[in-house]
Subunit: 341 residues, 2 copies
């Protein structure tokens, strides 16, 4: 494991505030907001600042929401605001293409992340290969990772390493994990791959900070976290909380605490109407392990069919519904309505 | 350990929403607010609902804030709203007296808690003895418990058991603990006393849920939690989150999840302007291990003396400042100002 001269294990904190946070404000952050936060994070020594539409490069659309700025505009503004930190981008193959990746690299993106459903790492092969050929830093991330067992996750991560990924890891997209789940999965991945391992948490069960600490203790070397937890639903791991907690647990992040608190305060004032909290819908979707993007359709359809949305979430969880299976929401709601009648 | 017929370890969830939450709204909850939430918690099967001024019986005053209702009024309203749940009260000797305890019992309080600084359990002796003689359920709680080592806490808890306490435990008043700290302390207490052990968490480091799980795993049998985390500063352990998490970890609470979510939603709508979040001041006071009641005077004095309030918190933590030592804030701020000049 990478060590500082202090002998403490070194972690890379990866900050997707300006990408994941976009989910919480319908992708409308403007130039001054991006510039202000990116500058503050850079001043604090945050190693990687990720920016973009919540769903990544190329995703701005009527279907998932149009961003206020184009990818080109966001990357230009943030690159200028990061004299020291690396700039990160995220892409889901299908939403974005090789052309989007090439333009992100032209704009000075240092860290390029490709995401895929936890059992579909093969969808990253072409793009990871392309990035490897260009010599870029390319990371492969598995979404909704609680839906696969530790062995399967390790196998999918190994495959992404073979495709050319320079780091691999998992998203807890539903915020479903408890610390022992994270320990088990990160351990399996760390034992299987030879590149650094990434953990990205969500707070639906109030465990984002504890899960991130568990990941680091199990050998993850890249920890994702957002200022004030700014992110979809119940939010992400809270950056300015997890950094001093990790330091207290014996890890080194290289981040200046007071400058980080200043960045978080700025984020609180300028990026969000209010920090994320755990409401009952976020909690239930986390318990059920359902894709957080299902929230709005579940609430709409449950109301229309006169069924309890919490029952719909738990049933979708039992059926292992994945993103894209919005049709299943209607099926489940109709069945619950019939069962009741 | 107490077991249900399921064989799962049984926990008693103790809900101080209507007492600790009072700190977040200057003690102004009215009759309809108390009645509504208490009824909903009772319907969910929450075993104990605690009510009162944030600082407990007899504390309503100009110095710490006058409550909208008298102790008598609060206890009358909540008792009527709890056909099934026990009613709890809290008292800090000094603020409240034996006369307050007697009146609370006359109003039908079932669980009476006495709090004392973590090294001053002897202050509970007279009142615990008085309650024991009346045959009441009496609990002894150590505040600011991170300021004493596990052995000392166990000794103070044993003393309270000898005074007559039917349960004993610790408050993480500053929200300073990480899970291993809780494991170590609860284990020491459980190994020393023969009555049930209580844990009361705060969320300053984002660890309230994880710490409460650690406490239960170490053998605590009473876990405190508040709807939406409603409580002082960064808030308490979030009730509707910790209950299903504990159930998933193998514990039994006897609480109905949907009714609990309904109660939490009601609390969110009717008790608080917004749920607690972790702001930078709460985070720093948690890291420093400083009494959360110092927040306002620290901010005021730091501004007046032109020093960084974060430095003041960390220095107060180094000096092990305790509640009542408000004079120390001025001393520290002046010293920091001089050192800078």
């Amino acid at each position: 494991m990478n060590q500082l001269s202090t002998g403490r294990p070194r972690l890379v904190i990866h900050d997707p505030t300006l990408r994941d946070g976009h989910h919480a404000v319908r992708h409308v952050l403007g130039r001054e907001q991006l510039r202000g936060y990116a500058s503050a994070a850079d001043a604090a020594g945050v190693p990687v600042v990720e920016v973009g539409h919540g769903n990544g490069l190329g995703a701005s659309s009527l279907q998932v929401g149009r961003a206020a700025l184009s990818d080109d505009e966001m990357l230009t503004v943030v690159r200028e605001a990061l004299p020291n930190s690396k700039m990160g981008v995220f892409m889901l193959p299908g939403w974005g293409t090789a052309r989007d990746l090439r333009r992100a690299l032209d704009h000075g993106a240092d860290v390029v992340r490709l995401g895929a459903h936890c059992t579909e790492s093969d969808l990253t092969e072409r793009h990871l290969g392309f990035l490897r050929d260009l010599g870029a830093e390319a990371q492969g991330l598995l979404l909704m990772s609680h839906m696969a067992d530790p062995g399967r996750l390790a196998k999918e991560c190994l495959r992404m390493e073979e495709y050319g990924a320079t780091a691999v890891g998992i998203f807890d997209s539903s915020g479903h994990y408890l610390p022992p789940d994270v320990t088990e999965r990160i351990t399996a991945i760390v034992e299987t791959v030879s590149v650094p391992v990434i953990f990205h948490g969500h707070n639906n069960l109030g465990m984002a900070v504890a899960n991130s600490v568990a990941a680091a203790q199990a050998g993850a070397q890249v920890i994702d976290a957002c200022a004030r937890g700014f992110g979809a639903g119940a939010g992400n791991t809270q950056l300015e909380v997890v950094v001093p907690v990790l330091e207290r647990m014996g890890f080194a992040t290289g981040i200046d605490l007071y400058a980080l608190l200043d960045a978080a305060d700025l984020a609180g004032r300028t990026l969000m109407p209010a920090p994320p909290t755990i409401d009952s819908v976020s909690l239930v979707s986390g318990l059920a392990g359902v894709f957080s993007g299902f929230k709005t359709p579940v609430l709409d359809i449950a109301r229309r069919e006169g069924v309890d949305p919490r029952d719909v979430f738990f049933e979708l969880g039992r059926r292992q519904a994945v993103a894209g299976q919005e049709d299943l929401i209607v099926d489940v709601a109709l069945e619950l309505a019939e069962r009741r009648a």
